[in-house]
């Protein structure tokens, strides 16, 4: 603690607080009820107040947890779509590059198209989707 080295009195107060708290932890319910009564406080009202504090904290905590879960869900919903789109675009670009660099592949695809055996638009989409998935898996495995 920065302050205590310059302030020995504060350190003493911290130690007195420690001892008082330990003494409360060691007290019996009867002693505590008696002490509260001496100060004019009703122990049963204190217990009721504690019940309210606990209920309030549980409600507040639950609400905050729900808000956190909602925002996580929203993020999760937004995240994969963006990633998928990005993956697919990147995969399409890579596929086009592969095709342009590999004359054999390009000619086979052209031949297949002439024979009516070429890839349909949906076949092409599927191929790109698979390529994107493979690349994602590859990334997750550390490119192994």
């Amino acid at each position: 603690m920065t302050g205590s080295r310059k302030n020995p009195a504060r350190e003493q107060l911290d130690r007195i607080e420690d001892a008082l708290i330990e003494s409360i932890l060691g007290a019996s319910e009867a002693e505590l009820r008696e002490e509260l009564g001496e100060r004019g406080e009703d122990p049963d009202r204190c217990l009721l107040r504690m019940e309210q504090i606990i209920a309030g904290a549980k409600a507040a905590g639950g609400k905050r947890r729900m808000e956190r879960a909602k925002s996580e869900l929203q993020e999760w919903r937004a995240g994969p779509a963006k990633t998928l789109k990005f993956d697919r675009e990147a995969a399409r670009a890579r596929f086009e590059k592969m095709r342009s660099r590999d004359p054999e592949l390009a000619s086979k695809m052209l031949l297949a198209a002439r024979k009516g055996e070429g890839l349909s638009e949906s076949d092409m989409e599927g191929l790109i989707e698979d390529l994107a998935k493979l690349e994602r898996l590859d990334d997750e495995n550390g490119g192994e």
Partner: protein
């Protein structure tokens, strides 16, 4: 369970604090820490005795903060439910909550101490960057030191005429406990327990919301 055993589980072991507001910072559902359901159950199963203890401890821990009675407990409980502070399974729940309350109060005190008396208005007016001075000759720091010394004096004054109680408080302020404290005061355990009870009663009466 002895009083030292209760705090003993947490001494030097602040509740694990996650990054508040960080997404995905939920405590593990099982494993080393209690999850939020365990925490809720632990609250519900607190005995009336422990509830009264928390009530009394909060009053002491509030000292020097701008929190009202109930606020500290509320903050500690919601932090625990939220998972901002995690309770290790091997630590008694009471010790965890007490230590959490004290940690929150200490944070509030530190924050308050760093705030200039005018809330920073003078610095803002001069367009200066806020500076947290670490020099003891700083008038505000000196004032804080003086206040602490006055409080220590006022606490001792509470037991004017009760030499035993004064000695116990003096021993506490030096960090003595158990045999060391008994030897220092020169009494047996029964007399020490009785003096401790007198001190507790006098202090909670004199400082119902903790001292400044």
């Amino acid at each position: 369970m002895s009083e030292t055993a209760v705090l003993g589980g947490m001494k030097g072991r602040a509740p694990t604090m996650n990054q508040t507001g960080q997404i995905g910072s939920e405590p593990a559902a099982s494993g080393r820490f209690l999850d939020s359901e365990d925490i809720s159950e632990a609250f519900d199963s607190l005995s009336p005795e422990n509830r009264l203890k928390l009530h009394e401890i909060e009053r002491i821990a509030l000292r020097g903060t701008d929190l009202s009675p109930g606020d500290l407990l509320h903050e500690a409980l919601s932090d625990a439910i939220m998972g901002n502070r995690s309770c290790p399974r091997d630590v008694p729940f009471m010790a965890f909550i007490v230590q959490t309350m004290r940690s929150i109060a200490s944070h509030h005190r530190e924050k308050r101490r760093r705030e200039p008396a005018d809330g920073g208005a003078a610095q803002e007016a001069q367009g200066a960057r806020p500076v947290f001075s670490t020099v003891t000759s700083d008038p505000e720091q000196m004032l804080i030191v003086r206040e602490s010394e006055d409080t220590v004096g006022a606490i001792h004054d509470c037991f004017e005429g009760d030499e035993q109680a004064q000695m116990v408080v003096l021993g506490w302020s030096e960090g003595y406990r158990g045999k060391e404290l008994r030897d220092f005061v020169g009494v047996d355990q029964a007399a020490l327990d009785y003096a401790t009870k007198r001190i507790r009663r006098a202090m909670t009466k004199r400082y119902p919301n903790g001292w400044k």
